[in-house]
């Protein structure tokens, strides 16, 4: 087995190409190490491109190999993309957050992965480059093939960074989850919301929940109902009902029954919306 700690993106792409499908990109290895290990690994944890968090020309850029711990404590993420900081802070344990990454969380493609749900809630796009140096940019929710399978082929393609429109004045975001314990427990349901208010009324909104389908699921019908309304008690009750009608969740022997999950999903999406709207209302110039 070979293990390369890549010192440049170029070197990483060249070794993936030389690996002819037998080498694979890796970041924290918290998922990959528990699966079948490939013949060669190309570690992306130390590249500038994959580890930087910055805001440039009105867009936030977060390296795909940013760890959950880093994203959860970054002042930029906390002020401009709070849902992601909250999603990352909920993952596993300190040990897992110190090494597991946001890109790995998306590519592992677990249906209720916390960082992935927050990223889809924020409307993040991923920038990828393949061994032929071709780049593409995709909405995160479009990177899922089926349950636990990503459309990203990590033997040929590297996810470099996520691009997120920062939450500015009048905008807010939030993430919520419910699990049996506060640490080391996958969520029964998780949800994220992003909202833009104008004079107290919803101008733009994104509502996302999981697990329902392979990718974190956008609740387009509920979003439509919310547009133009104030986020008050009536809207929140309406969202709870509308979500439970729009999305169909399954029960899990390990985590919870379908009925309970169906109830939870409405409650959690509504709660994320409420928090996001509160943040939007108090955001002033500083973002959420």
């Amino acid at each position: 087995m070979s293990y390369l700690i890549a010192s440049s993106l170029e070197e990483a792409l060249t070794s993936l190409r030389d690996g002819s499908g037998k080498a694979r990109a890796v970041a924290g290895a918290t998922d990959l190490y528990l699966q079948e290990m490939p013949y060669g690994l190309v570690d992306l944890s130390f590249l500038k491109e994959t580890t930087v968090i910055e805001e440039k020309e009105g867009l936030m850029s977060l390296g795909a190999a940013v760890t959950h711990a880093l994203a959860a404590s970054s002042p930029l993420v906390l002020s401009r993309a709070r849902a992601l900081a909250e999603g990352c802070a909920a993952i596993g344990s300190p040990q897992i957050r110190n090494i597991g990454t946001i890109g790995g969380n998306v590519i592992n493609a677990a249906p209720a992965a916390d960082a992935a749900v927050a990223l889809v809630g924020l409307g993040a796009k991923a920038e990828l480059v393949d061994i032929n140096r071709e780049t593409r940019t995709e909405a995160v929710e479009n990177l899922y093939w089926t349950h636990n399978r990503s459309l990203v082929d990590s033997s040929k393609e590297i996810m470099v960074r996520f691009l997120i429109k920062p939450c500015l004045a009048g905008e807010g975001s939030a993430f919520t989850r419910f699990a049996a314990r506060r640490a080391l427990a996958l969520p029964m349901v998780n949800a994220a919301a992003r909202v833009k208010l104008e004079k107290g009324f919803v101008k733009e909104v994104r509502l996302v929940a999981a697990p329902a389908r392979p990718a974190p699921t956008r609740l387009l019908k509920t979003e439509e109902l919310v547009i133009g309304r104030p986020v008050n008690g009536e809207t929140i009750s309406m969202v709870e009902k509308a979500v439970a009608e729009e999305i169909e969740v399954r029960g899990s022997l390990l985590r919870c029954s379908a009925r309970y999950r169906q109830h939870l999903v409405g409650v959690l999406v509504a709660s994320a919306l409420k928090t996001a709207a509160t943040r939007a209302g108090t955001s002033g110039k500083a973002g959420d």
Binding site: M1, A29, T30, Y33, L41, S93, P94, I99, A183
Partner: protein, 143 residues
């Protein structure tokens, strides 16, 4: 330290089987229990999940590094004083999580202590004495 091994081997197995450092314990092997906690570049990680190839040229600290000149570290001292050790199997991992916390945040509050040890399971204690021992160690280290 230098050793020759398969880079896919876990850091945990290399520490124990190749380097003879048995202080770091082997438990679930899946990141769920925390007994294998070590510091990688000053941050707590589960050594059972780290392929050793990742560790080339980086700093790894294990429980063996905590005592100095035959004297145990203040965290270890307070664990003993508080009776935070029963069977002791979780203890090296707990101590390393506490050590990582105090390196980053020398004055934690009880909530921060709870988060810091939330990846470490203990089957014997109720966690209370462990929490208290870490708070006392923080006090002692401040002086």
């Amino acid at each position: 330290m230098e050793t020759y091994t398969d880079p896919a081997e876990s850091l945990l197995m290399v520490l124990r089987e190749k380097l003879g450092l048995y202080g770091t314990k082997a438990g679930c092997g899946k990141g769920e229990c925390g007994v294998c906690t070590v510091l990688l570049d000053d941050r707590a990680v589960n050594s059972c999940l780290v392929p050793v190839g990742k560790v080339q040229g980086r700093k790894v600290e294990t429980i063996e590094n905590l005592s100095r000149g035959g004297k145990v570290h203040p965290i270890q001292e307070k664990f003993v004083e508080k009776g935070a050790v029963q069977c002791g199997f979780c203890t090296p991992g707990m101590v390393m999580s506490a050590y990582a916390l105090l390196k980053e945040n020398p004055r934690p509050n009880p909530d921060q202590v709870r988060v810091a040890i939330s990846g470490n399971l203990c089957r014997c204690s109720g966690y209370k004495q462990i929490e208290e021992a870490i708070m006392l160690a923080a006090d002692k280290l401040k002086d």
